[in-house]
């Protein structure tokens, strides 16, 4: 299968991602000041917010790939959806881990059913379900269609899941000292904002780098299958 993204472009992307990751690390860990309330633990935010945004981006790409595949039935779109799902699971799982670790020094617990963590957990379950569906259907094209349907339904459902979980959490706020939904946007120091922005761009670049690699892998796997089938004749 002809490579959609040429090899040296991928290389540049990777190098750029690496540079920004390093800059982001410096800015987040050293340059930005510690938070007034949370101390240094707040620095996990520079991982957490980019991660979750990347995870949502991933799901959007799954949606786009799914729609295109159902419309045009081109294998490339299916590979896009599959690749985005695989990397999406990765980033979603990382988001949950980061959120949990951030929670321990901040709220004293490893897990809380606040809106953000719960939503991320549900997102992970949907992603995992998507990948399981793919692996449990034997025939290629049927698996691709099935996954595409699930991808579309899942994506359309996400705003509804968002609303319902946020309402559930805000209307039933337990009268405790925990305020997990307090956004970190309030009174944010400019250096923090820059750190966040740099890390965000770094994550996006890294994401697309990984996606391009995984996509190419998908293309090659497809080529191997086609060649094997041709040989069989």
């Amino acid at each position: 299968m002809q490579a959609t993204v040429p090899k040296n472009r991928k290389g540049y992307l990777g190098a750029l991602a690496l540079i920004l990751v390093i800059v982001g690390l410096y800015w987040g860990l050293i340059h930005a000041p510690p938070d007034a309330y949370q101390g240094n633990a707040q620095r996990i935010m520079y991982l957490h917010i980019p991660s979750i945004l990347t995870a949502y981006l991933s799901f959007f790409l799954v949606f786009v790939g799914s729609c295109l595949y159902l419309w045009k039935r081109e294998k490339r779109d299916d590979i896009l959806a599959h690749s985005a799902a695989e990397i999406g699971v990765l980033f979603t799982a990382l988001t949950i881990v980061e959120g949990s670790i951030w929670g321990k020094p901040t709220w004293g617990v490893w897990w809380t059913w606040d809106a953000r963590l719960t939503l991320t957990a549900i997102l992970l379950l949907i992603f995992v379900g998507y990948l399981m569906l793919r692996s449990l259907i034997e025939e290629e094209s049927r698996a691709a269609s099935a996954a595409a349907i699930l991808g579309i339904i899942g994506f359309l459902d996400i705003p509804l899941i968002h609303m319902s979980v946020y309402w559930w959490r805000t209307l039933h706020q337990p009268p405790s000292i925990l305020r997990p939904d307090k956004a970190p946007w309030d009174n944010i120091h400019p250096a923090m904002l820059t750190a966040l922005a740099i890390n965000f761009v770094a994550f996006i670049l890294l994401y697309f780098y990984l996606l391009s690699l995984r996509f190419r892998l998908g293309e090659m796997t497809e080529e191997i299958k086609t060649r094997r089938m041709d040989r069989g004749r």
């Binding site: 860990l29 101390g39 892998l217 090659m220």
Partner: protein, 51 residues
């Protein structure tokens, strides 16, 4: 664990996981490349045999 401990734990897990994934991708990549090479050389042989 002090605050920094948690920070390093989080950053450590994230970056090592991403690196591991990158390596796993590269490994699958190389394996796929080898297979493609094998299949194309086998095709070449077949073509020669047919001539």
């Amino acid at each position: 664990m002090s605050s920094w401990g948690y920070v390093f734990l989080a950053y450590g897990i994230v970056w090592s996981t991403l690196l591991l994934y990158l390596f796993s991708l590269k490994r699958r990549f190389r394996r796929a490349q080898r297979e493609v090479a094998q299949l194309s050389s086998a095709e070449e042989l077949q073509k020669h045999a047919q001539k």
